[in-house]
Amino acid sequence: MTLHQGAAAPRWVDRLFTLHGLLVFAFLYLPILVVIVFSFSESPNVGIWGGFSLRWYDRMLGNEQLLKTVQNSVIVALISTFVATILGTAAALAIDRYKRWVSRGAFDALLYLPIIIPDVTMAVMLLLWFTQTGIVPLGRTSITVAHIAFNISFVAIVVRARLAHMDPAMEDAAADLYASRWQTFRRVTFPLILPGVLGGALLALTLSLDDVVITSFVQGPGATTLPVHVFGLIRKSITPEINAVSTLMIAVSMVLVLGSLAFQRRSGKSD
């Protein structure tokens, strides 16, 4: 709905809104810029500019322990995203395309729970479950299993949003033209929901790379992820090396998000 002339606020009020909006943007971007800028500072004192230098990046790349946690993070994120995207997409189809099956309502509610449950509660649950049953070894496996558990729901919600906007007539048309179910899915449904599936996968990847609380509960000795490792470092003392690591993490998330935006624009045009 576009704004009508008669509904517009007076000019000075609109100016105030603009000022507020710009201040909020400054609030949103200032912290990130400061971290990036100071990651290139020579000074060992975190908040003081000491001339341009790459020494903290150099030190970061020489830190074996840190690189090991980066490796763990990437492996956990990729596997958990892959599994959660498949399971979550199938779950979204089950809820959206099939309206009547036994315990559909219960499944629908179950899909929402991991989203509304507080991190700490889910962390406690999984810690108890893993330590009491020994169902999976604590370490990279238990972290991956936990990440899949919360990611399924987020993928399902994003894909469902996409399915809701899709015209079922497309699938009916394919069926009328004697396409098999698999052909209909592969040629019609899947291409149409693909932006949703990729959006869900991107969200899952981000959440996995973001998680601190759940991972710190279910990690095993010797196997932890980058954010949990950094969290431990921050609690002890702050070093400029953390700025370098943070900048790297910001860069990765920017590339992921801007890449997906570009992709969505392209697929949006071909619609």
């Binding site: 509904a7 603009t18 099956w101």
Partner: protein, 301 residues
């Protein structure tokens, strides 16, 4: 091939109610099969762990704090009404509540500003601008504020220059700055969604009928954006109530809140059954809040 046959069969005996039932049964079986992998996974790694938390909250504890599955009792649940626990719960509640109000006050004019930009492309760009920092790591964003608020940080320097504030790190304002920063997009997005699809001609009509600007806002815009306000408030309130990372990094973890209090039960305090009861209680509160939200006609996230 079987599908093709099914279609032909269906065409031949269109009106047979028996066949219709059969098709329906097959459809419902297919729906279940699609859900099955996620269903099984979430049962094993979500539902059963959830049950275990409640079971263990009735267990007794060994000397190391691990639960012993005998001598079932209600001690852990009884401990929830301890004055200390009550103080922590009330403190967490007020923190979450205050944070929600603060976020709403900042986000509303902001979302209004974005939603009232004339060109669609401007609105989209501004919205993406809100989302980009939100996608970068939560821990990194919190850490950034730790730098800004520390002794030689940028914000502290401004405060000292103007004489308005000193070092804010490890104080309550620092925690609120971090929480507002972390959850602002959760509030902006539903508000924007509500304002963007609003019918502005209603406001125009109100103004034509000699309502003042503020009155038109109070009587028309505000009620119409209520679903956005409710959705945003719930999305901010729930994670604030269990917040752990932000109070720890920016508040120094000195004050007991529900989040770090639970973590302590599984660490130094070594009381797993009590920690389980606390987690269970928080979950029940969240569920009630969410159900109330859906009951009041929400669903606009």
């Amino acid at each position: 091939m079987t599908d093709l046959k099914e279609h032909q069969d269906a065409a031949e005996q269109q009106a047979s109610p028996e066949l219709e039932k059969k098709v329906q049964r097959r459809e419902s079986w297919r729906g279940f099969l699609h859900a099955a992998p996620a269903y099984v996974y979430l049962t094993i790694f979500f539902t059963l762990p959830l049950v275990i938390v409640f079971v263990f909250s009735f267990a007794s504890r060994s000397r190391t704090g691990k639960p012993i599955l005998e001598d079932w009792n209600l001690d852990s649940w009884a401990k929830l009404v301890d004055p200390l626990v009550r103080t922590i719960a009330i403190r967490s509640f007020w923190m979450a509540f205050f944070n929600t109000v603060l976020t709403l006050l900042i986000a509303y004019p902001f979302a209004y500003w974005i939603a009232t930009r004339r060109r669609q492309s401007t609105r989209t760009i501004l919205l993406i601008g809100v989302l980009i920092p939100f996608w970068s790591n939560f821990l990194v964003r919190t850490y950034a504020w730790r730098m800004l608020l520390d002794s030689d940080g940028f914000i502290t320097q401004i405060g000292e220059m103007t004489g308005l504030w000193g070092r804010l790190l490890f104080t309550a304002p620092a925690v609120f700055i971090g929480l507002v920063y972390g959850y602002l997009p959760f509030m902006v997005l539903p508000l924007y969604a509500a304002l963007e699809r609003m019918d502005w001609s209603l406001v125009e009509a109100g103004r034509d009928l000699f309502a003042s600007g503020p009155k038109a806002f109070r009587k028309i815009t505000l009620p119409l954006s209520k679903p956005g306000i409710i959705a945003g408030s719930i999305l901010v309130f729930i994670p604030s109530l269990g917040a752990y990372v932000t109070p720890d990094i920016l508040g120094g973890g000195k004050t007991n809140l529900l989040g770090n209090y639970i973590v302590t039960q599984f660490g130094s305090a070594a009381n797993w059954p009590f920690g389980s009861a606390l987690s269970g209680a928080i979950l029940i509160v969240m569920l009630i809040a969410t159900i109330l939200y859906f009951r009041t006609g929400g669903k606009t996230i």
